[in-house]
């Protein structure tokens, strides 16, 4: 038989790195082929685009707050004093060919990255994929979500425009609101009272381009290794899958073109958005100054739940005499995300406690098969979502004329009432769906029996 030219490099690698057994295993690893398993990959490919475009941007961005006078292509900012950071971002947008494409693609990729993680997390939650033996995989994933949120916030705050500068002031106030140690914490991170020591910009920069990306990349590796080690979960279909037996598509040749195709599709969508839909037009905001503010300032979407909370909490600091124990931003800025992530991290063990189920699970539940979990998930989600929507009340006032203060009062109640209603509605829905299936199945059995008996 004619020798396949591929054999040469394979032999080379195996003799020097022992690669063949690992390659053989990897090439024939079996993937589940349900579409919802691709959501995690979407996040991964968004990260790849982030790193690629990020490297490009870092080759031009000047992370310095030193003052300079703008003398570039964007006329409305001519002669304006601004930081080098802001000036370099303007240059990326107007002077560097394809610079604006890279900037916008990078920012869209960040927004889509977090959205994909959230979708993936929803799939994990509603199918119970976080149960034994995958708790560690799940915890690693949650850590990546937290890192992604911080990474995005730091990324758009580096530019020192009016919108993100206001957002940094809010971040500072949240730091200060931590009971007892908040003042020290704020001074430690910022180096001085807000706007802080110039070194704070360096800290944000290094965290954004080196520390957090390295952490996320490492966690991705760990996450994928854990997934492969315990193997993907499976939906029960085809009747062939059990807790011990799986059915899947091998990496090569089946899964590879699909995953690679998805990667190019994600990249295509992100570059399409980056070229066609404007995002963060920093030249319109102008440079940040402490004494300036604009109406309608918002953080990126994945922090919208925090601004909603900060706007909803009534105005009070918790004091003991002259000692301020809990400053107001604490509730929305620290406690809310603290509770949400605490519940998420504790989920596998909470479920064990509530259901008494300590078994290994390789098969997934359909959401309707676990009414309690599904109802809790919808309720929890609706709680966070109501808070998130409350953060857009001012734009609702502008668009629809509905009074702002009335909206805030409405949300203060709705945030607690709606999740309770959603819980019962979702649980009922799951049970109805299950019952409907049961009826269908018993009808089919009756028909089959009828045929056997013979008419």
């Amino acid at each position: 038989m004619r020798r396949d030219p591929l054999q040469e490099p394979i032999r080379f690698l195996d003799e020097r790195a022992g690669a063949a057994p690992l390659l053989r295993k990897a090439l024939r690893y079996l993937f589940p082929d349900h579409w919802s398993f691709l959501l995690g990959e979407v996040a991964l490919y968004a990260f790849v685009v982030l790193v690629g475009t990020g490297i490009y941007l870092a080759l031009f961005f000047e992370p310095s707050l030193a003052d300079t006078v703008y003398n570039g292509a964007y006329a409305p900012l001519q002669g304006r004093t601004m930081s080098e950071a802001y000036r370099s971002a303007l240059d990326l947008s107007f002077e560097v060919d394809a610079g604006l494409l890279m900037r916008q693609t990078h920012h869209w990729a960040a927004d889509v990255f977090v959205a994909a993680i959230v979708l993936h997390l929803l799939r994990i939650f509603f199918t119970g994929a976080y149960r034994k033996p995958r708790e560690l995989t799940y915890l690693v994933g949650l850590t990546m979500l937290m890192a992604a949120l911080l990474e995005g916030y730091l990324g758009y705050s580096l530019v020192d425009d009016l919108l993100s500068g206001m957002g940094l002031a809010i971040g500072y106030s949240v730091g200060l609101s931590v009971p007892v140690v908040g003042g020290d914490l704020g001074l430690l991170i910022w180096g001085a009272p807000f706007p802080g020591d110039p070194a704070f910009q360096s800290r944000m920069y290094i965290a954004h381009v080196l520390l957090l990306p390295a952490l996320i990349a490492g966690l991705i590796g760990l996450h994928l290794a854990l997934v492969a080690s315990r193997h993907h979960t499976q939906f029960r279909r085809l009747g062939a899958q059990t807790e011990r037996r799986l059915v899947g598509v091998p990496t090569f040749p089946g899964q590879a073109p699909r995953s690679l195709g998805l990667m190019f599709a994600v990249a295509a969508l992100l570059f399409a958005l980056g070229g066609l839909v404007q995002i963060n037009p920093i030249w319109l905001w102008g440079p940040y100054e402490l004494a300036l503010g604009t109406n309608g300032a918002q953080p990126d979407w994945y922090l919208g739940w925090l601004i909603g909370a900060l706007r909803l909490v009534p105005g009070f600091d918790v004091t003991i005499g002259d000692y301020t124990l809990i400053a107001n931003p604490f509730w929305g800025g620290v406690l809310l995300p603290g509770i949400v992530f605490a519940v998420l991290f504790a989920l596998p063990w909470l479920e064990r406690r509530f259901t008494g189920d300590h078994a290994t699970h390789n098969l997934l539940d359909r959401p309707r098969d676990a009414p309690g979990r599904t109802a809790f998930g919808f309720a929890f989600l609706s709680w966070v979502f109501m808070i998130f929507v409350a953060g857009s009340a001012d734009r609702v006032t502008v668009f629809f004329g509905i009074d702002y203060a009335s909206q805030i009062w409405f949300y203060r109640f709705a945030v607690w009432v709606v999740p309770v209603l959603v819980f019962f509605a979702a649980r009922r829905l799951c049970r109805e769906l299950q019952r409907a299936e049961q009826i269908e199945r018993s009808q089919e059995e009756a028909e089959a029996e009828g045929r056997l008996v013979g008419r």
């Binding site: 394809a98 001074l187 807000f194 195709g261 503010g293």
Partner: protein, 324 residues
């Protein structure tokens, strides 16, 4: 007879030697499938188009085309490659659905690991003491390595949080450095001012100045002299989360319109200048610090002292007396 036997034998042989379907071929690792020439053509066409789109991107880049053209071309190239791969995955690749097994944990290996660790300690008699010593050394080293982080900021000295650049007698100037004259402060509008000679970006620097008719003032008794001619100055930094209080709501017809308020655009805390910065609405937990004003001999506005309280967002010591 013999001929017939030969023909039958030949037939039998031919049928046995007919090409077995590839999937029955013994020793195949990957299932075989029928060729798909139409699919191949589709993939090739998509890839060629992708190459053209990529070339178009380079051309656009060279002529300095708009971001939209660049993005469209690059997205087109990537999207066409994606389409090629997806079509290849559906048409050119065998649809294998293979069985496999989930890994089982190995209790004997778990036991071996435990035993290796346990048996390695055969020479140790003071396990607890060694452990405590190692823990102490590790903890101390950890603390030593973390200690330099304190250089990041004045962690043990929160006094900078109380600093402001305002002193008695310091003039109020506008953003271009011109002093604010009391006579040019009108009612029904607002001004931003800074301490003369100080950096504008210090948290305590910017103040918002408004003027109310003196009969509308309801200041606390200790502040009655703080508003000469009804002119009031407050820190422009919101006590909730530090945004600039850049909004002023001032009615033209008091009987039916909302009363004057300084409002923050971030979470819509509203402060009432007439009562010395009390919170009217919103999440702010502290009133807006007021700067006492006076008018110097030249008619310019000057600070008559420090703020009524610490500026900016709250922390544990925000209501304490500032350290001297």
């Amino acid at each position: 007879m013999k001929l017939r036997q030969w023909i039958v034998a030949l037939f039998a042989l031919l049928r046995l030697r007919r090409r077995r379907p590839p999937s029955d071929e013994p020793g195949r690792l990957v299932e075989a499938g029928p060729p798909a020439p139409r699919g191949e053509l589709a993939v090739i066409a998509l890839l060629v188009l992708a190459a053209l789109a990529a070339a178009l991107f380079v051309v656009f880049y060279g002529i300095g085309a708009s971001t939209q053209a660049l993005g469209g071309a690059l997205a087109g190239a990537l999207g066409l490659i994606a389409a090629a791969l997806i079509v290849a995955g559906k048409l050119l690749v065998v649809d294998e659905e293979l069985p496999g097994h989930y890994p089982e944990p190995d209790p004997s290996e778990q036991e071996s690991v435990g035993r290796i660790v346990a048996e390695s300690g055969s020479r140790i008699t003071r396990k607890r003491l060694l452990g405590a010593a190692a823990g102490t050394a590790g903890g101390a080293l950890g603390a030593a390595l973390i200690a330099p982080a304190v250089s990041l900021g004045p962690v043990f000295d929160p006094s900078p949080l109380y600093d402001t650049p305002w002193r008695r007698g310091r003039r109020l100037v506008d953003s271009s450095g011109e002093p604010l004259l009391a006579t040019s402060i009108a009612t029904g509008t607002f001004y931003t001012a800074f301490p003369q000679g100080a950096a504008k970006s210090l948290l305590g620097a910017p103040v918002v100045v408004v003027r109310l008719p003196e009969d509308e003032l309801e200041l606390p008794p200790e502040r009655v002299t703080w508003a000469p001619d009804g002119i009031l100055a407050f820190s422009k930094v919101c006590t909730h989360a530090g945004c600039a209080i850049a909004l002023y709501r001032t009615p033209k017809f008091e009987p039916v319109q909302p009363r004057p308020a300084l409002v923050c655009p971030c979470h819509y805390s509203a402060f009432e200048p007439a009562t010395g910065g009390q919170v009217l609405f919103g999440p702010a937990g502290r009133p807006l610090p007021q700067l006492p004003l006076a008018i110097d001999a030249g008619g310019a506005l000057i600070a008559a002292g420090g703020y009524s309280g610490a500026v900016g967002p709250s922390w544990s010591g925000v209501r304490d007396e500032p350290p001297s």
